[in-house]
């Protein structure tokens, strides 16, 4: 006869859940702050700030809901993650953005993403993948450029065609 109901297995506070709840509360605060910057010149009906405030209230309530879930340990069980592989792909994305940003062109940018992703999934033949990626992205570039007449950003490689 316990007065506290004992739930299944893990009833420990989940720190990830606390972070989620905090992030939602922060998002709600940003919405309210942003809405307060708007001018309402509409005496009848709803101004542009009404909806953000409604959504912010919803987010605030959900932050509390997620907080309760986290306190009860209701978050799903998680297996360990291969963080190195995730960071490798994120690094590939960052490289892609940087190459597009400095005008390196579509082929080089997507090749970088292809090689890092393939490496993250366990391929070791980086040079072979580099070749495959160059061929694949060149074909995509020409397909978009010539067949669909959609222009993709051009860099040194693209200007060769």
């Amino acid at each position: 006869m316990n007065d506290v109901p004992q739930g299944p297995a893990s009833r420990r506070v989940d720190p990830a859940g606390l972070v989620i709840a905090l992030a939602l509360a922060a998002l709600a605060a940003v919405l309210v702050w942003d809405a307060s910057q708007l001018q309402s010149n509409n005496p009848y009906g709803m101004g542009p700030h009404a909806m953000p405030v409604v959504i912010a209230v919803g987010l605030g309530l959900l932050a509390i809901g997620n907080l309760i879930d986290a306190m009860r340990g209701n978050l799903p069980a998680r297996e360990g993650a291969d963080a190195r592989a995730v960071w490798l792909i994120l690094g590939g994305l960052a490289l892609l953005i940087a190459i597009i940003g400095v005008g390196g062109g579509f082929i080089l940018a997507t090749t970088a993403l292809f090689v890092t992703t393939s490496r993250a999934f366990g391929r070791r033949a980086v040079l072979a993948d580099l070749g495959i990626a160059l061929v694949l992205t060149t074909v995509i570039y020409l397909g978009f450029d010539r067949l669909l007449t959609l222009s993709l950003p051009a860099g040194p490689l693209e200007r060769l065609f």
Binding site: P5, I20, I55, L59, L93, A94, I97, F121, L148, L152
Partner: protein, 500 residues
């Protein structure tokens, strides 16, 4: 009644023009080829292939969409049967029985019953769509803005809270989507919201950027993070591709029953294909002569849920085309496809562009026939696509995913948003937040807000106007019940658990 036949005949005349047939064929092939890749569901298939249709005229591009939509669905079931990784929860039942059949060397009949069942269900459901749509349009023209707003509230709640594992997590996803929908210039007053002075944000968040980030990049990050936990195994298709007389006998009733579950549930703003597929699965299990075969590869367990899945996909087109209301992530992507041409599905579109709407509906029939004729002979090709090694597969998916965004908006901000949504998709998968409500929230949120503001300016700011229309009052009550019900049920469940 006669009007529908006339409109449909007119649509057929549009759809069978050689160019449009070609678009449908390309759509079906591309849709299947992309949909068959593991981890790519129909919503992502449509999102990835949107850029391909940028330069087409709206008619041709919507017809290609019809093909992509059905092709993506079919490709997904092939993956579920052959490698037991359902791209979406609606294919889970198919994966359950179909993969067992493939392991037992009956992959051919499993694929065949899925294909023919999809055809039967798709055709019946498209007929349902053709006859239901004009009726619903007549009804919907009388809707005021407050009724539309209330209807959208129902869709918001049912998509996020009512049927998921956790209403809190579903609603959290929805509200993140709604928040993203606020970003950009407010159309009524021209003021920027949540743009933080970044010019690229003034146009708002692109639905395709969000969907591709959440689904493609999020999925790739998730799969790579648990690379060492799960082993995917491709089952070769052995033995005959064709169904025996026994297989036919066991399949045709589940096809029809699955359609009966799928179409009405898909057509309700409740949306989602999970419920009809699971209803169909449990019904077939109960009615089967050999219920002990279930879990070991019963053909009824593939035939019924596959039919239900396809019928509900056609069903979700009913609220999408007649009310402009997307009730699944895939339907949200279709709506984005309309919006890229400045078209808003709804009663007006039926009146103003009947050629477009009916051409699309007619194309659904044609896409269905094409899938049936093409896919069984081409199954060998699809299996080869499935055999691409995982590193190249995901590297290729990410290259295609980013190519779409680079083609649409080659800016650092847009690409950073894509990567950010990818991280969000990864975290949401890891912590079991549903993805579809984010996409629906982003695309439907701004529409709901403008309807609400229109209603408020008509009523001079009196919020009671929402309750004075009997229609919107009823719908809001339904939304409230749909919101409270899962919490009550959860409470009951906990109460019961404590009793034990």
């Amino acid at each position: 009644m006669m009007d529908t036949f006339a409109a449909l005949a007119h649509g057929m005349a549009v759809a069978v023009q050689p160019m449009n047939l070609l678009y449908a064929l390309i759509g079906v092939l591309l849709g299947t080829a992309v949909g068959v890749l593991p981890g790519i569901g129909p919503a992502l298939t449509v999102a990835l292939l949107l850029p391909v249709t940028y330069k087409l005229d709206p008619g041709g591009s919507l017809i290609m969409f019809a093909g992509i939509y059905y092709g993506g669905m079919y490709g997904g079931s092939t993956t579920a049967i052959l490698i037991n990784t359902p791209g979406e929860s609606a294919s889970m039942a198919t994966a359950l029985e179909g993969n067992k059949m493939a392991k037992a060397g009956r992959g051919g009949p499993a694929l065949a019953t899925a294909a023919i069942g999809s055809f039967v269900a798709g055709t019946i459901a498209t007929i349902g769509l053709a006859f239901l749509a004009p009726w619903l349009v007549d009804f919907a023209v009388r809707f005021g803005p407050e009724d539309y707003f209330a209807l959208m509230c129902v869709a918001f709640i049912t998509v996020s809270a009512t049927f998921g594992d956790s209403p809190i997590r579903g609603l959290t996803s929805l509200f993140i989507g709604l928040t993203l929908g606020l970003i950009g210039i407010d159309k009524l007053t021209g003021q920027a919201r949540l743009a933080f002075g970044i010019p690229e944000l003034l146009d708002g968040v692109e639905v395709t950027t969000l969907a591709v980030g959440l689904f493609a990049i999020g999925e790739a990050l998730y799969v790579v993070s648990r690379r060492h936990h799960s082993e995917e195994k491709l089952e070769p298709v052995r033995g005959s591709l064709w169904m025996t007389r026994e297989d036919w006998k066991r399949s045709w009733k589940p096809w029809l029953r699955g359609t009966m579950f799928g179409f009405p549930i898909g057509a309700l703003p409740a949306g989602g294909a999970e419920i009809p597929t699971f209803l169909s699965y449990s019904t077939e299990k109960r009615l089967a002569k050999h219920p002990e075969e279930f879990g070991k590869g019963a053909i009824e367990g593939v035939a019924g849920p596959e039919a239900a899945n396809n019928a509900s996909a056609a069903g979700t087109l009913v609220p999408l085309l007649t009310l402009g209301l997307p009730t699944s992530a895939t339907a949200a992507m279709m709506l984005a496809g309309f919006q890229q041409y400045g078209l808003n599905p709804g009663p007006l579109l039926f009146a103003e562009r009947p050629d477009l709407v009916w051409g699309l509906i007619a194309s659904l029939f044609i896409a269905n026939v094409m899938l049936l004729v093409l896919n069984l002979p081409l199954v060998g090709l699809w299996v080869k696509l499935l055999a691409i090694p995982q590193p190249w597969l995901y590297a290729g998916i990410l290259v295609f995913a980013t190519t779409g965004t680079i083609a649409a908006k080659p800016s650092v901000v847009e690409l950073s948003m894509l990567a950010g949504f990818g991280v969000m998709g990864f975290l949401m998968r890891r912590f079991d937040f549903p993805i579809a409500p984010v996409v629906v929230g982003l695309i439907l949120g701004p529409i709901a807000e403008s309807q609400l503001r229109r209603a408020m300016s008509i009523s001079l700011g009196d919020p009671m106007a929402l309750l004075q229309s009997p229609m919107s009052a009823t719908l809001l009550a339904i939304a409230l019940i749909a919101l409270v019900a899962p919490f009550v049920m959860q409470g009951l469940g906990r109460f019961k658990a404590n009793e034990d």
